[in-house]
Symmetry: C2
Subunit: 318 residues, 2 copies
Amino acid sequence: MTGAAGFLGGRLARTLLDRGELDGRSVDELVLLDVVAASAGEGDPRVRTVVGDVADPALLGETVDARTGVVFHLAAVVSGQAEAEFDLGMRINLDGSRLLLDACRAAGSVPRVVFTSSVAVYGGDLPDVVTDATPLTPQTSYGTQKACAELLLADHTRRGHVDGRVLRLPTVTVRPGKPNAAASGFASGIVREPLAGVTTVVPVPPEVRMWVLSPRYAVESLVAGAELAPGRLGGSRAINLPGVSVSVGEMAAALERVAGPEVAARVSWRRDPAVEAIAATWPGAWDTSRAEALGLRGDADFDAIVRAYMEDDLPHNL
Amino acid sequence: MTGAAGFLGGRLARTLLDRGELDGRSVDELVLLDVVAASAGEGDPRVRTVVGDVADPALLGETVDARTGVVFHLAAVVSGQAEAEFDLGMRINLDGSRLLLDACRAAGSVPRVVFTSSVAVYGGDLPDVVTDATPLTPQTSYGTQKACAELLLADHTRRGHVDGRVLRLPTVTVRPGKPNAAASGFASGIVREPLAGVTTVVPVPPEVRMWVLSPRYAVESLVAGAELAPGRLGGSRAINLPGVSVSVGEMAAALERVAGPEVAARVSWRRDPAVEAIAATWPGAWDTSRAEALGLRGDADFDAIVRAYMEDDLPHNL
């Protein structure tokens, strides 16, 4: 697992260790790679923690080997940072993905590679409803890097180097902890900060639509994505996960319904043109029937996402 | 110009030197880069020949500078070779394109970059008619590398590093000289060898459809592509050139009409599964109305392509 010290990586690692098996095979070893030491499963004899750069081919060569059955490739420089630091984004998001695929090819075990991609692969003049087959027309460097990595994963799959599957993640919310540099970070802040008694500023107008998924279902989808039989995937390895399409104004209203007006009053609005420009590239409506037909699941609505955060994370923050 | 020692590069170089201007600016210097010395314009004081690897960042840094106004990026490992030699294709077709864009960005002159892409960016379950906006679903490593380079060019254009335009070339035929390693090479051989008194073997069935353009119009399109005002391009920088859609059987029939039955009798048919598998990914029908609206032109039919070859190249071969 790359990006294993991240929020999603940590939850996925704990889930895999708790399950003890994946696709009917036991989890004998879980290798957690990140630039800082991953803390999930500390003390568990099945865990090997590797600290290093995902774009370091020597490190990848040591990390992926003939015993590697599944690779979760979560490491990424997020959208806002990839836009601000072009070379860094190219190195981690494009080179990192490419070198990981090369390492899998060299290892020879044809691992299943679960790659987390993003709605940022879409943009520009989009159809009213986005499907798995909508053209990739990214309007950010992050989206460009993810789209290239998707194409490379498909080619390595076609060549038999890996058995790849691309999961296009909606914005994962609510993330606990500190804000990150993702342009979509406010989608977590709008719930997390008010619930922590802190005011938050939303940098886009209330009518901006987002496509969101709780951490619960993000982790469930990653596991399910790894377990999908290749024969069920057909011609395309990329799947838009079943997110909830919701406006930012509706997100604030859901917070008020679930947590009350006093909490919701801590949300304020001040437009940030840089974030707004990125948000303008996000699609409004989605057809995720293919994901659902494959058995992948999402949240019922944003109220459920707020409640999931309060159940899963809020006790630890208080 | 990268790939300047190639067939198309040589013709384009001679055309540019003959014109002496491009988009209203005089051609003061023409830098011809390739792994072997380009011979076009030999002795012309405006020509600087650079021998080296297009994936060598130091060389690119020396070649592209603040005076660079237009870059023609033609260098590529062709489809058959990129499929057989994966690493080589990745290095030349993907790294070469990426490093060239980085060199343009470092030079700071925001050059127009004319990138030759390919129908190989399409494949799989295609619509009946392919347009400029059809999703990129390559089914070969070559197509994957071209698609990634297209995406990177679009991002560098959006960021203001270059003013890019992608010309998706139909199969350029008839190429004079020796066969190359392109899977589509037979589209030249089917005319060139019989006219030279040599028998030729076509590796696909007559009903396989191709999308073809003469060298004349390929060069004209490259020049016109460089001269297109950015404002005319709108949201997408990629243009499918106005090729002729024709079956391989019709190509043989055109040869017979133009050059006679004795010449056409030198065409024989023997299927090659490797070539056929690649050919199966080529689309059948095209909507190139956007290219035409932008003033780009192509051949009337395959008879005209055979005649163009006989006029432009045959005297030199005899």
